[in-house]
Subunit: 325 residues, 2 copies
């Protein structure tokens, strides 16, 4: 019998989960839950749409609910609320607030006898695993995370809020010389701004002062002021055509030394054409693990760092050991 | 109280374990067990040397025994035998025989109430994890393992057995064009020989026929015949000076597509100055996990694919979640 999955929220991530489920034979999508009017939504694969208000009615029809809302306002309340009735998986990615989110979900799910994995995706998620394995096998060393090349939605939004800007896309790009120094085992001390540069493609409104827009971008505190920032003004057509996707990725590097003064470099990198679809794919693997753990009576809130790797796979342990070990 | 580790066997790997233990505060080396005369061995850090014959006497003094023998003849008998009395970790790396080794160790350790991890290191080991995570988050795709650049001891030995060869070192090198095609998401079909080339540094004996030696190397079945092989004749001095180390490494690449026809490439690479010391460092992290699992009453034989990542780390879970997730 396949694992029955509910999708809570239907933006880019929810659609990604719907598609990821078609690639995993042991799982099936029960439906999408939305706060919008269900009749206004049409799903990619034709799965039904239900109103989020009635989600509790489906408690017996869903093995794991995958939450596809945002970290700023949706997940902090939705994940604990749904954990009262469902096993849940989310991609909560506000790093500083993970411990408090974990505690909130853990408290509810332990009481309800459910199992949760929070903060799944690629960072937090696969990059967190790379950081943990890296420092564990090389306890004396340094860990570096580089993001990009990829679109930062937060930075793109920040540019769009500037007066005179019609549209914008911002790419975060690792500084190649910094990455090279790390790869060579030089263990440099690097701030986030020294590791990344920012490239902005901006559509100015008719008659807007481009020099002022560029200045406002480059001097914006936190977002751009500390970074080497490049601004290109282009047409809306060019933006749509060349910068329509949401690619992302990055690299985690652990550089360390073992006891005999030998150097070692461990590198984990992702090159993703669709941030949302890859994140969705990780969420789906975590849903499988949640289902299995709950079946074994393990309850409460976990993270991907807690999960035995074999639990994430649709294949059985014997096959994995024989073919992949 | 720190975890008390025994080191069984004292070659390159055993010395690597001894050194790795000095980098992990929560563990201590109890001593080395050897089949040689203990009085002939001097350890790097001054830890005591005992005779392997009396290892059972130390059953109460050692929390985990790390086996540092070879996969061909040592580990198949030693790991099951020691699992009768100790929690054990080994680096058994004959891929085709892992299932039967696992079964042998599992049977003994379940009966004795002990816990084991076999086949830890980098391949099998960290590369196995990369293959598992890769195919789990991208179920539709291909996985590629490239080894090198690094010294293959088996191939170096094979050259040294040729008449007229005084000494030799063989490097396995990934074929850059093949790796590039994989990185670009082209999912080519590649044999091991199409993924690797072989570079040999050979010291010929006085008066030996170099042309014949080169021919014998290049036509040697299994080892070289199928590969693009380069042979350089050099002096013993140059071999010692420039090719004295045992570096190794490689890359695991998973290239796949998600439902919306988006491509993704996941890459895990290792660049190791000392194959033995890095392997030893992984064994030590696994010893920690074995100790914890046994303390929780989990017995039998595991692999690194079964281990919750947090169990490998010397830091506590809360700290790992806060700092690395």
């Amino acid at each position: 019998m396949s694992i029955r999955i509910g999708i809570y929220g239907y933006g880019n991530l929810g659609r990604g989960v719907e598609l990821a489920l078609t690639q995993n034979d042991d799982m099936q999508a029960v439906g999408v839950f939305t706060r919008r009017d269900p009749s206004t939504l049409k799903t990619l694969t034709g799965i039904p749409v239900y109103t989020a208000d009635e989600v509790k009615k489906y408690a017996n029809d869903i093995d794991v609910m995958i939450l596809c809302g945002g970290s700023a306002t949706d997940l902090p309340t939705q994940t604990p609320a749904l954990a009262e009735h469902f096993n849940v998986v989310d991609s909560f990615d506000t790093h500083a607030k993970i411990p408090q989110h974990l505690l909130a979900v853990d408290t509810v799910s332990k009481k309800s006898g459910k199992t949760a994995i929070i903060s799944a995706g690629w960072d937090p998620g696969m990059f967190s695993l790379a950081r943990l394995y890296g420092e564990t096998v090389l306890p004396v060393g340094e860990t570096y995370t580089f993001w990009g090349k990829g679109v930062s939605q937060g930075h793109s939004d920040a540019i769009r809020r500037i007066e005179g800007v019609a549209d914008a896309k911002q790419y975060t790009i690792p500084v190649q010389s910094a990455m090279q120094a790390v790869r060579e085992g030089k263990n440099p001390t690097l701030s986030t701004a020294e590791k990344h540069e920012r490239e902005c493609f901006v559509v100015a409104k008719e008659g807007a002062d481009k020099a002022r827009i560029e200045r406002e971008i480059k001097t914006m505190p936190n977002y751009f002021a500390d970074y080497n920032t490049t601004v290109h003004f282009i047409s809306q057509e060019e933006l749509n055509e060349k910068h329509g996707g949401l690619p992302h990725g990055g690299v985690v590097i652990r550089s360390g030394e073992t006891g005999g003064a030998h150097k070692h470099v461990v590198e984990y990198s992702l090159k993703l054409d669709s941030n949302a679809e890859f994140t969705a794919s990780v969420l789906v693997a975590c849903a499988r693990a949640v289902y299995r753990l709950n079946g074994q009576g393990v309850t409460g809130c976990k993270t991907i760092l807690d999960i035995p790797p074999v639990y994430l796979s649709g294949k059985n342990r014997e096959e994995l050991i024989e073919k992949l070990l």
